[in-house]
Symmetry: C2
């Protein structure tokens, strides 16, 4: 019989939280298969957060992870917003949209006491954070329920900082990973390291367990990450084609196309660097630009363009989040995919953890 890992799961595998493309259904499927499913909460209203947690609890009695962002909300800068809108003006004109009627886009709220109030009754086995950690008393509150706390490090300095601030394990997020870079001590993207380099150096520098992430999309990849010293892995992109994911048809199509071979870090969609498949707006304005306002304010002015283009089956303005290795994406039920991914490490995961 297998011993459960430090995560409370049989398999040393976390399904990466992916806001906007999945909810409780994917998380439950992965947890039920023995991995650690994750519920991404950064884009959920308080009501939706509550409803998703109720749903998830109803779908699985296994451990799961609940993920929050913990950025400092930005101060709005009307000047920067004006420059951003001016930059987007030609696209607005092309799509017959009105620049002066931009509604608030889908926001991304940081973890808060209010979110903690909703979360507390559910006492999830694991709570993970992106962009550092919440302030100490809020972090202490989460730990007081017995939840294990994880956060992502993209550099050695971030790993040491997280360990010092009390995380139970560190996700070493290699440069290959899709979606937002978890970077929080630097904004310099030249500091970002590939999984091969980052994982080994973090493992050597900290005493908490390290979870490898970035470019892992096969059973061989999982096994290789464990060989490099990971106690578990976190995998996102490979799950994007699962029926339980809410990935749009356009996004699924892009992942299956040759376009998926070329991803880049871009700050155009939210204001922070995140990895996605290169599309029109990334080619024409970036992929990294000085123009977008601070995270997550850039989103508002992109949203109407995205909606209009998507209605015409175009992903020109859609964040097509993907890691650098979409070759492992399979349209399989998430439970089956989880088993496949873990097939080389199942038998000894207890020992390794």
């Amino acid at each position: 019989m297998q011993k459960p890992s430090f995560l409370g799961t049989l398999l040393p595998l976390i399904q990466a939280p992916m806001a906007g493309v999945q909810g409780s259904a994917l998380a439950a499927a992965v947890s039920n298969a023995g991995g650690l499913g994750s519920l991404p909460c950064a884009m959920l209203s308080q009501q939706a957060l509550h409803d998703e947690l109720v749903q998830l609890k109803g779908l699985t009695d296994r451990p799961f992870n609940v993920n929050f962002f913990c950025h400092t909300p930005p101060v709005a800068h009307p000047d920067r917003e004006a420059v951003w809108r001016k930059t987007l003006a030609p696209y607005y004109a092309e799509h017959g949209l009105n620049l002066s009627a931009i509604p608030d886009g889908p926001g991304r709220a940081p973890f808060s006491q209010e979110a903690a109030d909703i979360l507390e009754p559910f006492k999830p086995a694991v709570v993970s954070f992106h962009f550092g950690l919440p302030e100490p008393s809020l972090l202490a509150r989460v730990k007081s329920w017995g939840s294990k706390v994880l956060s992502s490090a993209t550099t050695l300095d971030e790993a040491l900082w997280l360990q010092e601030h009390g995380v139970d394990a560190i996700i070493a997020q290699g440069l290959e990973a899709g979606g937002h870079r978890g970077m929080f001590l630097t904004e310099d993207i030249t500091t970002q390291m590939g999984t091969f380099a980052l994982l080994q150096q973090v493992v050597a520098a900290v005493h908490v367990p390290v979870i490898g992430a970035g470019g892992i999309s096969t059973a061989q990849g999982v096994s290789a990450a464990m060989t490099l010293g990971a106690s578990a892995v976190q995998i996102g992109t490979a799950y994007l084609l699962c029926p339980e994911a809410t990935t749009s048809a356009l996004h699924r199509q892009a992942l299956l196309s040759p376009a998926a071979r070329h991803t880049a870090l871009t700050n155009l969609f939210t204001g922070r660097p995140a990895r996605g498949i290169v599309n029109r707006i990334m080619r024409e304005l970036g992929p990294i630009s000085q123009v977008p306002p601070a995270f997550p304010l850039a989103t508002s002015a992109i949203a109407p363009l995205r909606a209009k283009a998507e209605a015409c089956a175009s992903s020109d303005f859609t964040p097509l989040w993907s890691g650098q290795n979409a070759s492992g994406c399979k349209p399989l039920p998430a439970g089956e995919l989880t088993q496949e991914l873990a097939e080389l490490v199942q038998s000894d995961s207890g020992a390794r953890l």
Copy 2:
């Protein structure tokens, strides 16, 4: 008894050719230990090339690799050179140097019929190229001696191109790797992938053996690369502290310092992107800039600054080539280091290859 690999070596390990920091001594030590030592020839005059080959043949009767660049020599652009010198003018003034008296810097000549004339009598087991391949008749000439031909791919497209043009094996050079990116079908550095992502995708796409490179610096790293499908690995940075390397004291010091945690791709030293430890000129002018003239012309105007600064024990203008994982650098004899690196794969390398 072990079966020799397709490289003709007992160990599936290539010591990466590193122009400027090593010659025949390091190559011979690695070959004598069962790996494939490499002689970097891009910066050698024809006389030096001949002398180094004689020396290498005298030091080992094992297989070795001889490496050449195969870029197209650039056309000099006096206007671009003038802008470059103007950009460097404040540094020249600071160091009391004369901008109008810049000698030709250490050039980097592409592989040629003349180099082939010198190489032919030595018929090296392996010849590797960087920046693509030489023109077909020159490539055919090298293959006619029985030399195996390798070249580096930094994208899937480059791997497929190399296979189509007749290489015997492909080096998948992940983003973590130190020194020059081998990129030759694109100049867009956002296309560059981490080793974890690149290696698996190249292995899946080609039928020739694939050699993993970038961020590999330990026995665990070698083992992990093999798990990802590599038939062998190529390791550079880890050898930089070996007594047989000619790495300068300043460079060795930087590799052992915390500064080595932050490397970046820069085109300031030669005109092409290469990875090195971030230093003053990279911080102040780049690391990537539109100003330097085409490879390798940027070198000339940097050379006097570098020499003057180095004479004052400063590496402000020195290319401190390093991969993203300098943690495996050890001041060990190269033969011992080779044995250490291969200790997890020695017993089955024959079978894997």
